[in-house]
Symmetry: C2
């Protein structure tokens, strides 16, 4: 039985020729994006969707929905070591949508394109009970053929993360409880920034293992462990986060930080020498290490004591 | 106010920089697919979605939904003069979907890929009230830079169409009324064939004006008229169709044929000399002529008398 995204991907890759028999040098299903080689030019190709009542709700402005739906694709491209070129937008709309909301939605998408790159070149508009925005993107690698993937973490590598973690889940909670209208946390949740420049520096530094945080640091690190078949140990105290989160979530804050999704920060894994060079150029924290290569394992420590997570990262296959 | 797809496209292209300020040699929103130039290689990029209760219903097998959702994208690529390389699949699913249905869906997509080209390389799976399948595709031109578009119809050109027209709407009607389970018409509606080979021959023959029939011959010809700013006159008697349709729809059959959507046949417009060469190689009927270039107009004649259409082509913006 298929219970989660990983099982679904494994089911797909083991059963269908059009999925597993892809051309040499291509990268198919299972990473942040696919890589397709066309005339020895590596292209990045990905898709991401948001759905009403799942990814956004009544309090979400359409500008923000548009912005975020583009950013999540830009972030997938950044995670592969590239920059965005073009997007297609497929809109599912019902009678409840107002013209001004459509204008706002496209304003948000247009702004994210202007800010971080890429053009809106096509799409489709269809009727649907709940509104959805399904986007696909083409990107290009900063250095041709130099891609970053999840399956290249090596024993002895260090694990680093850009920016602060935890603001997204905090912002969402604030918005749901109407506590605060606009601050760093709500801004992070509503208008995240894809790490395009950070990706460029990472590729130039020779980093080959990366992914973006879309479902939470814990869950996304697990994916690196599984893809690379490595053991990773994280020192929670090295994770950079806004100290106000401790008070906001009280006892629960560690779990909240580790399961905060839609952060769009980059996890970068590589030799300490390369990560240290990179740390000079971008906002980066070394938070852990690859300490084994026998089987996929992930451990989080605080004051040398293991943390047991109390909340689950978001899974679209979950209940 | 935005009332239909054309107005929506016009609204988008006039208001957003990321849509209208695209790089030189690119083709953005408004044709069957976009063209993006990467290192002087022309790539085709498009997206198409199907939604439960809009594009498919209870009687539709998931194999057929999968097949058709891939074919509609392959057809868009064929319409631009290319062949498919890669697809991303974004699925919106709810609790009602069964594992066997997912397997069937991917069987259908996989089969269409094996038959007509392209690989499934990525996507997303999200929760949604109604099931939707949103697909995007990358294709490559048969001859680099030789694209076919809607805006290149010229005064004096002839208008030609591949295959038979009208089977799709007839098949749909048969399925809705449970009249017949499997025949040429239902097969055409459920398992249409993208005109990839026909596209190749068309490009090689020097044809530069084409589109696929997704919303009906009348509506799609109108789009060529509008994009190329030409007048087209069609002789209904030259349209190839299965004669059984006359009896099936009685008095209404001309309108049904002219508004039959999801045919995925190609409309090809060009000089008679080139079309005649092409006619030797593929199943093609010359059905009309470009007779003016002052404003967009379309007329249908039968026995030299103008046909007044009694039914409207499908419009996702319509009520």
């Amino acid at each position: 039985m298929i219970k989660n995204e990983e099982q679904f991907i494994s089911f797909l890759t083991s059963n269908y020729d059009s999925i597993n028999k892809i051309p040499k040098n291509w990268l198919g299903i299972g990473d942040d994006a696919a890589i397709i080689d066309i005339d020895s030019q590596s292209l990045i190709f990905c898709a991401d969707a948001v759905v009403e009542d799942v990814h956004f709700r009544k309090y979400t402005e359409f500008f923000d929905i548009g912005w975020k739906s583009i950013v999540s694709n830009q972030s997938d491209i950044a995670a592969m070591g590239g920059y965005p070129l073009a997007f297609t937008i497929t809109l599912g709309v019902n009678e409840s949508i107002k013209e001004q909301q459509l204008i706002d939605l496209y304003n948000g998408m247009d702004s994210a394109c202007k800010e971080f790159g890429g053009h809106l070149v096509g799409g489709d508009i269809v009727k649907s009970k709940n509104i959805f925005i399904s986007i696909s993107a083409i990107g290009k690698n900063f250095i041709n053929k130099k891609i970053m993937t999840r399956d290249t973490a090596k024993m002895g590598d260090v694990v680093a993360v850009t920016g602060e973690i935890g603001n997204s889940i905090t912002g969402l909670d604030m918005l749901e409880n109407n506590n605060i209208i606009s601050n760093k946390q709500t801004k992070k949740f509503l208008n995240p920034v894809p790490k395009i420049i950070e990706s460029k520096y990472a590729v130039e530094s020779g980093i080959v293992c990366a992914m973006d945080i879309s479902d939470g640091l814990e869950k996304d690190l697990k994916r690196i462990c599984e893809s690379s078949n490595v053991k990773i140990e994280i020192d929670f105290e090295k994770i950079k986060y806004d100290k106000s989160i401790e008070g906001y979530f009280n006892n629960d804050y560690e779990s909240k930080i580790l399961t905060s999704g839609e952060e769009y920060e980059l996890i970068l894994v590589g030799p300490i020498s390369k990560i240290n060079v990179l740390k000079e150029k971008i906002d980066l924290s070394i938070i852990g290490k690859v300490t084994g290569n026998k089987k996929p394992e992930i451990y989080f420590y605080k004051n040398n004591k293991q943390i047991n997570l109390t909340s689950e990262s978001f899974d679209h296959f979950g209940k």
